[in-house]
Symmetry: C2
Subunit: 244 residues, 2 copies
C-alpha cells in the first residue's frame, strides 16, 4: 500500500508521497512514487502513484519513452486536461496488455495516479486518475486529492485545508496527515517525498526527501502529539448523564 496527497491551492501545489511499496513480511521496499516531467519556463507536470507497482512503472516508462516522438506526449500536449487524458489512455493500454494475466492470477494489478502541474497560460491543476483511466479535477471547494491508504490522514486535511491556505501551512497539514497515517498503518512508511510548486514559476522544484529521523519532521510530530494530548485533556468534562 502507499499514501499520496496532492493539493492545488491559490498559491501553487503541495505534494507529499510515501515510498513504502509492499508491507508484506518479507518484501518491504522503498520506491520513489513521485515522477516529474517538465520544460523550464513552459510546463511542469508531476505524477504520484498508488497501487500495483508493475503497472504504474509500465505507465511511467511508456510516458517517458514517448516524450521525444512526434505523437502526443506529456511535453507537447496543450493542456493539463489532455495530459490527464494521455496518462489515463496509457494506463488503459497497460491494463489491457496485462488483463489476461491479471484475470488468471486473481492479482489486483490496478493503480491510480494524481497528476498535478501547470502549462504556460493555464492555471495550476490537479487530477485524480482512476484505475479505469477516467479522472476528476480538483476544485476550489475540494482542493486536494489522496490516493492509497487515505482514510487515517483525511480528517486533519478536511478540517484545516482551504483553497487559500498558504503553501507552507498546507505542507505542515500534509505532513501531519502522513504522521497520523504512519502511526496507524504499517503499510505506509518513510521516507516521504515532498514537492512544493509555486504558481507561475514554471520550473520543476527540487523537492525534498524526508528521511527517518528528519529533525524538522520529528519536531512537528512531537509538537503535534503533545498538543493533541493536552487538547483532549482540556476539553470540557462530559456531563454525568453521559456516564450513567
Amino acid at each position: 500500500m502507499t499514501y499520496c496527497v496532492a493539493m492545488n491551492l491559490a498559491d501553487g501545489l503541495v505534494l507529499v508521497s510515501d515510498s513504502r511499496t509492499n508491507a508484506g513480511v518479507d518484501h518491504i521496499a522503498s520506491f520513489r512514487k513521485l515522477y516529474t516531467f517538465g520544460m523550464p519556463g513552459e510546463r511542469v507536470i508531476m505524477l504520484q502513484t498508488a497501487g500495483n507497482l508493475a503497472t504504474s512503472q509500465a505507465v511511467i516508462n511508456l510516458l517517458r519513452l514517448r516524450l521525444h516522438g512526434e505523437t502526443q506526449n506529456l511535453l507537447n500536449v496543450p493542456s493539463l486536461f489532455e495530459a490527464a487524458r494521455l496518462v489515463g489512455e496509457t494506463l488503459r493500454e497497460v491494463t489491457a496488455y496485462d488483463a489476461a494475466a491479471a484475470a488468471s492470477s486473481g492479482i489486483d494489478m490496478s493503480c491510480s495516479f494524481l497528476l498535478t502541474g501547470q502549462i504556460r497560460g493555464e492555471p495550476t491543476g490537479l487530477f485524480n486518475i482512476y484505475p479505469q483511466g477516467n479522472f476528476i479535477a480538483a476544485t476550489t471547494d475540494t482542493p486536494y486529492f489522496q490516493v492509497g491508504e487515505s482514510k487515517y490522514g483525511k480528517p486533519i486535511i478536511d478540517r484545516a485545508l482551504r483553497y487559500d491556505s498558504e503553501l507552507e501551512q498546507a505542507l505542515r497539514c500534509a505532513l501531519i496527515s502522513f504522521d497520523s497515517t504512519i502511526r496507524s498503518n504499517l503499510s505506509v512508511g518513510m521516507p516521504l517525498d515532498v514537492l512544493v510548486y509555486r504558481r507561475d514559476t514554471l520550473v520543476l522544484p527540487q523537492g525534498y526527501r524526508v528521511a527517518e529521523n528528519d529533525p524538522y519532521f520529528e519536531e512537528i510530530r512531537e509538537q503535534w502529539s503533545n498538543g493533541l494530548r493536552s487538547l483532549l485533556a482540556g476539553l470540557s468534562v462530559a456531563p454525568d448523564f453521559y456516564l450513567d
Copy 2:
C-alpha cells in the same frame, strides 16, 4: 456502513456506536446497534455490531430467543470467553443458513461483533468477533477494538488511549474519534449510543443517546476543531529547503 468502538480499561468499559445503517441515496436509516444482556449483580454483556443488518439482527434475535431455554445462553455461560464463543457459533449458524442466497446474489452478508461485559468473579472483557465466528480478546497493550468504518477515527485513539486512562477521558477520546469519522465519511452518522460501565458494579448502565445538536457533543466538537487549527498553526514553520 457503521462505526463502533469499545474500550476495556482498568476502571471499566466505554462503548460508543453510531446508528447509521445504509448510506445509499434512498435508504439512510437509523437502527440501534448496541444490544445489552444482563442479570443485576451477576453479569452484564453488551454487543455492538457492524456489517449486514439482516445477519446481525438474526444473530441477536436467536441469542435472545434462547435466553430462557435450558441450553447454553448469554445468561448462563460461565465466562465471557464462552459468551464470545456462543455469539461466534450463532453467527456461523446464521451465515450457513444464508450461504446459498449470499453466494447466488453476490451480496456481502457478513457482520462483526464487539462483545464486552463482566461476569461475577471475572474481570471485565472485550472481544472482537470476526465474520467467520472466531475472535480475539483485547489486552492491556491494545485495550480497544473498532468495527466498521474505523480508519478515520483510529489515529486519535492510538495517540491518546491507555489502559489506565480514566473512563471519562476515554469517553471524550471516543467521542472525538466519532467526530473525525462523521466529518470525513457520510456513511457514519448521528445519533450515537454511549455506554459507560464501571468495573464490578455488575449492573447494566442506562446509557445515553447523543442526538444531533446535543449541547455537550457540539461544545467539544467546536473546542476540538478550533484547538486543532491553532495547534496546526502553532507548529514550527517548515525550513526553506522543504519548500525549494
